[in-house]
Symmetry: C2
DNA sequence: ATTTTTTACTTAAACGGTTAAGTAAATATA
DNA sequence: TATATTTACTTAACCGTTTAAGTAAAAAAT
């Protein structure tokens, strides 16, 4: 059952455990011949060092924790991909925790992680995270790197994308495509990314002198069915929008469904832009204009930043903020011919 | 930096570390008054036990390892979701490793995990996994639960879906919808799920007396661009199929794109079924007929099974196989009106 | 009043490694 | 030849926690 230990190697070779340990660590204190014997036996018996013994001694776990709201979202799964790639390359292990957008989970997980299980954390906060005492408390013990959904109140590394500019560019694109009544579909009032995107949205509305009452913000929830009803209602109202800017990927399905069921043509009657990393955007009918975030890259940079700190803890994490731009990918949901999308 | 230890509690209360440890464990050996004092101080100083010290002592890590080919796939992200849910509920931690379909990664990861870092592993093998010595070796030390992509040669718990039946049902559905030349798009010759689905496919072909030369198997790769070319070529060949059964989700994009670009109507000229958990299946044009696997449920059962064993290691894992049926969800890509999908 | 049992602790070993300090023998230096 | 240095080890302490074994004092039983 249990694997080979240093003690067993020591006994077989009639050496002390210290000698074995140093031989395996290629120490100058050990003769070449002994090193060879140790390495050979270690290989033969398939010796694997116990991860926790070393961790306990060095107070280092070679493990990072990743807290994300969910993983069934292209952005987060791509980011996780990037994080895991860097971690594996640098010999780190990745503990994953899904908060399911619950602040209480986030709090409980961070509290548990102070116990030495991880050397640091990479996280994207929940939609509910409007207080941050738990993160601050965690950060007193261990380093935190935020990515995407950051906590402005915590002074640490933040890997983000240009949400403000993208909110602006997406709105500008809708306006220039002829929209006058643009609705921004939000999912939170506190989330950093949403508030940045919203600011960009508002700036464009103001700059182009659109009627601010027509260009409102509608709050969606975690419940797809509810969102569907909400969008359907919105699209049946007197003041129906002619442009939709959806701030999260998962709203795409409900927007397309509602328009299909109400027989509203995209882009003829309403033009749609989504913040999305879904590969299927290109095969939707009409193909979906997206703001596509550099998810994989953001994950890689977040992990690289954290691991850089763990290697050299004189680094000031607060100076390690990176902004990687997203791309506006224009497709038919904002520019397509109306005939393209008869349903 | 470092957190509070039992030693510090002991010193402050003028007690031994043993007393503190037992008080925290609510041992009968400790008086109620002492327990109260210990608990109070522990709470005040926010004592969190060091995870690895306990792990080292008990040779248990309260951690499970999850090996999946990738996480940017609805099936695996949903399954991970299910695994993490059960793990968190039972106080376990989840280490995630992405093999990226590389056997060498799978081997390296399993080897590293023998070092006590995990108490067991839940895995879905890579497309390259045609030997299994590494899994067998790992399994000598620690329990393994397979889900979805299993290794038939290893005697342990396997959580699967009814791939054979689904291969059959999907093919039958295509045949009954009028297809005579059905192509199965495969990604591997060794993968358990693919071979089961293929068997079901062949059974239906034989039962309905379709021409076996027209109903061939085409091998796709990990490269989307290559798959696109392959599908395009196939759809331009003399013997163009009138039905496609795609065994993995990610092929959807290339099928739809190729048909769009070649101006081939789905379902008019070719009907399509995909094994897929993508939520966007419903908003594609035409909406996509899918075999949808119980991904979340499979993840939950896999985790529950592993944790059941870890609690009671007299359990025989090989007796803990579960098959959870998938669903054929019929949509317009096989039954829709041709007019629905003019592009 | 004496012995036994119970209570409420402490001591020390253990988990599997690492490492500072110690040491005997071999080699180099004066 | 006597002393200093280097080589190649070993011993023992330590990381933070658990737990078997030991113990003194209090309570119960005889």
């Amino acid at each position: 059952m249990s694997s080979v230990t240093i003690k067993q190697l020591a006994e077989q070779l009639q050496l002390s455990t210290a000698t074995i340990s140093k031989a395996l660590g290629d120490s100058y204190e050990i003769s070449e011949s002994t090193k060879k014997r140790v390495l050979a036996l270690a290989k033969e018996l398939n010796y694997i060092p116990n991860a926790y013994a070393g961790s306990l001694r060095h107070n280092k776990s070679k493990t990072i924790g990743v807290l994300v709201p969910e993983v069934t979202d292209s952005f987060f799964s791509l980011a996780l991909n990037g994080i895991e790639e860097v971690a594996l390359e640098k010999g780190y292990h990745t503990l994953i925790y899904l908060t399911h957008e619950k602040l209480s989970r986030e709090e409980a997980i961070l509290k548990a992680l102070v116990g030495g299980r991880v050397d640091g954390v990479i996280m994207s906060v929940t939609v509910e995270t409007d207080s941050f005492g738990h993160i601050h408390e965690f950060n007193r013990h261990l380093p935190v790197v935020f990515f995407d959904r950051v906590c402005p109140e915590i002074d640490t590394a933040k890997i983000t994308t240009d949400d403000f500019e993208c909110g602006y560019k997406a709105t500008q694109h809708l306006i220039e495509a002829g929209c006058h009544k643009i609705v921004l579909l939000s999912i939170s009032n506190s989330l950093s990314i949403i508030s940045e995107r919203t600011k960009g949205f508002k700036k464009a509305i103001a700059e182009y002198n659109l009627n601010e009452d027509d260009c409102r913000i509608v709050n969606c929830t975690e419940d797809p069915q509810h969102n569907y009803e909400l969008i359907k209602e919105m699209m049946q109202s007197d003041n129906r929008p002619d442009g939709i800017l959806a701030t999260v990927e998962k709203l795409t399905t409900e927007i397309y469904l509602a328009c299909q069921h109400l027989n509203i043509n995209i882009p003829g009657q309403v033009k749609v832009v989504c913040f999305s990393n879904q590969p299927s955007a290109i095969i939707l009918t009409p193909s979906l204009t997206t703001i596509t975030q550099p998810a994989f890259e953001m994950g890689k940079v977040a992990a690289t930043t954290l691991l850089k700190l763990l290697k050299n803890n004189t680094l000031r994490l607060k100076d390690e903020c990176t902004v990687i731009p997203s791309k506006l990918i224009i497709r038919n949901s904002t520019t397509g011919q109306v005939n393209d999308t008869i349903i």
